[in-house]
């Protein structure tokens, strides 16, 4: 049984004009916020590296603009775009986005939120992205704009997610038989998690907003709300990431999961089980944290990788087995046969590599006894850039590159775009590994000048300079994506959008089931081995510190 189906771009092209305009608005918003946030990120890295100096207030304002724009607006605009696009394509038969007025309102609220955050960041004190009211101090009204911005963003995101759920539900109702498609189920799960993020944002920032406008006392414990939000902020995009992989790989190669739709749905649903309870590890350094919470946090965090590794295995094993069933031989011939010159495929390939690098490093931070060695150091941004930039952002860009032809008719400069993930990854490796070494020796995150008047270790400046060079490459790769995609929207090139995806060779005769597909499992073995090695290094380093516990005590 060989089937073909309409391509994602063709399905989106057939949407009503108003709905395509909504998606175009979201795409442009995502790209503009990415470019804007990357610019300030690069400037911050340059100041840290000593490439030029800024007044601390200006420097921390840039750092604030980077964190706010990338973590909140780029990631949420990017996710909202792909969520709605996948939902709309899934509902091909119903021809449109359900609750479209709500999605428009949500988009507008998100844009208003961005504007409010900009006003707050440019006119108020530099608060960084967690916007602690303690730091705002007396400048509470200016800081209030930042809190209002976050609340508007949360409300907008909630509405867009609701529209995506309504669209996926309508698609299911219109299907014959009425069963969830894998993508439709994933869309609903992803949208549900985005709604959780919206609620977490309200929980984190509403008390601060009320305080800012004199309606309540200063929040007594803003850090707990922030930690809960931050966990959602940087882990939940992984759910969207793997869903985009799932959809795009099938779109580009014609291969779908050989494990069946039900198994994939279980894996997607497992994000709901495994991700939210693992947020406790962010609080390991908090004074007063109950010992039981500390212990549970470490234990639960061990499970955080389960759903992501499962989706990775489903995709890679399905690809390898299917390609071998089509005749690929040797260890890596099946990989060489993939369409790497397609920019989306190149981006997803780089995203997988970066997920391995970031994932192997992340597991040091979930061990509560290593928190005192690494938390609040540059180790944290060093590892999470592999995930936020290298994995999530490249995947979202892959998705945007896939849907843009539906809006413009063609993707400009595909060869150049296919090279950019390599540039970004090289930049990440420089940024990440220099940052890891700096973080291990204690170089703090969130400082502009880590020299401490010569009292800091001499290599911190050199490592910061390598971080700065990495940031240049990362920023260049991302900004080229942004420029080409925006140029394609502003100056569209009309070409024919492929109306059909490659033939789906899911399980034509069961041949794929009989193939050995070891690349995925071996990759997991390598990942776990890297986790072991890094953990051993961290414990060994901790044991070598010239400080030990004393007997007795409180």
């Amino acid at each position: 049984m060989t089937t073909t189906r309409q391509s994602l771009a063709a399905l989106l092209r057939d949407l009503p004009a108003a709905h395509r305009a909504l998606l175009t608005t979201l795409v442009v918003s995502a790209l503009v916020t990415l470019g804007y946030g990357v610019l300030f990120g690069a400037l911050t890295a340059f100041v840290r590296a000593g490439f030029f100096e800024l007044h601390p207030e200006t420097g921390y304002r840039f750092m604030t603009l980077h964190g706010v724009t990338i973590f909140f607006y780029w990631l949420y605009f990017g996710q909202a775009t792909m969520l709605l696009a996948l939902a709309a394509a899934e509902g091909g038969a119903i021809r449109g986005i359900k609750l479209a007025p709500a999605a428009w309102l949500g988009t507008l609220l998100m844009l208003l939120g961005f504007t409010a955050n900009q006003i707050g960041a440019w006119t108020g004190p530099p608060l960084l992205y967690d916007a602690s009211p303690e730091v705002a101090g007396e400048e509470r009204v200016a800081a209030g704009m930042s809190y209002v911005g976050y609340l508007l963003l949360a409300a907008g995101l909630f509405l867009v997610a609701a529209s995506a759920i309504a669209t996926a539900l309508a698609a299911k109702a219109a299907a014959n038989p009425r069963v969830w498609s894998t993508i439709g189920f994933g869309v609903v799960t992803w949208a549900g998690l985005l709604m959780v993020s919206s609620v977490a944002a309200v929980n984190a920032f509403l008390p601060s907003a009320l305080w800012a406008y004199g309606l309540a006392d200063m929040p007594t414990d803003p850090s707990t709300g922030w930690h809960l939000l931050f966990h959602n902020l940087h882990y939940l995009p992984l759910m969207g990431t793997v869903l985009i992989w799932y959809a795009l790989i099938r779109e580009m190669t014609g291969v779908k999961s050989i494990f069946g739709s039900r198994f994939s749905k279980i894996v997607f649903a497992s994000y709901l089980i495994f991700v939210p309870p693992t947020s406790l590890y962010h609080m390991f350094l908090e004074p007063g944290l109950a010992p039981l919470v500390r212990v549970l946090g470490s234990l639960l965090s061990l499970f955080i990788s389960v759903p992501t590794v499962a989706v990775f295995l489903v995709i890679v094993v399905s690809l390898e087995a299917s390609m071998r069933a089509r005749g690929s031989r040797g260890l890596f011939a099946w990989m060489r046969a993939l369409p790497w010159r397609t920019p989306e495929m190149a981006a997803i390939g780089a995203a997988v590599v970066n997920l391995g690098l970031g994932g192997s490093l992340a597991f040091v931070l979930i061990q509560e006894r290593l928190a005192t060695l690494l938390s609040d150091t540059f180790f944290v941004p060093a590892y999470f850039h592999f995930l936020t930039v290298g994995t999530v952002s490249l995947t979202l860009l892959a998705g945007l590159m896939r849907i843009t032809p539906a809006l413009t008719g063609a993707l400009r400069a595909p060869r150049l775009l296919a090279l950019m993930p390599v540039v970004v990854t090289v930049g990440l490796v420089l940024f990440g590994f220099a940052g890891i070494f700096a973080g291990i020796s204690g170089m703090p995150r969130r400082v502009l000048d880590a020299s401490y008047d010569g009292a800091a270790p001499a290599n911190w400046l050199m490592l910061s300079q390598i971080v700065g060079v990495g940031a240049i490459l990362m920023a260049a790769g991302l900004l080229i994506h942004v420029a080409i995609l925006l140029a394609g929207i502003a100056l569209p090139v009309r070409r024919t959008v492929p109306s059909r995806s490659p033939a789906v060779l899911a399980t034509p005769d069961g041949a794929a089931f009989r193939q050995a597909a070891w690349t995925g499992p071996l990759s997991v073995v390598l990942l776990v081995a890297a986790m072991y090695a890094i953990t051993i290094v961290a414990f060994s380093l901790m044991q070598a510190l010239p400080v030990v516990a004393s007997a007795g005590g409180h």
Binding site: S223, G260, R369, I440, G442, D453, A455, P521, G553
Partner: protein, 235 residues
Amino acid sequence: MNDLSDVPANAGSMRHHLTTRRGFIATASFGAVSLYALWAAFDAAPFNIVGLHDSNVPGGGHGGAKETAADSMAGHGGHGAANAGAASEEFRRMTEDFVARHRLPDGSVRAPRNELALSETMPAAHDMHASHGTMPMEAMSGTPVDVYLMAQQWSYEPAVLRLDAEVPYRFRMMATDASHGAALQLGRGSQIIRLRRGILTDRELTFRRPGEYLVYCTVYCGVGHDRMTGKIIVS
């Protein structure tokens, strides 16, 4: 995209390779959980069910330090802004008293020796932890020496603290205006300590080697964050 097909109807009767079995995929997904065994080997596993121990881990945890976060000093339980303010004021007075008593001519502060420390810090310690009851002096002979470190925008008090190597100290620390860090740069690694406003944090530390160690803030606390440093001189 209507992907409604599942595995083929005859899939159950096919002979699967190990790597294409769902059970294998599900099991392999839990690969990282095996890290628990490594944690156990370092005696750092939660609920150590593996039973492995390594007595070489300094202090058995927390990066070679024992940490206690005492309640807010104002009444053991109030965490409101007003209580945090009261606790901060109380801690400020205690720190200023500590500094005044042990200040050296060069402005640095020399931590008291053990016997002296006991008699000087007893009342304060008992005030803050009245529920522990009164402890005889003899029973406290092994008690670490109390030293105070107050973090505020954008300095530490005392700014320079002189300690002895191989002497256990109980660092009593608090951020008094906003959250701060009190990280110690220890050569190849650091000891990161996070302080929250009005929350007393105790950390037991014994420096094994003489040297000068940078104290620096790792929690963003405003535009003067970079300037917030102190020094511990161990002799």
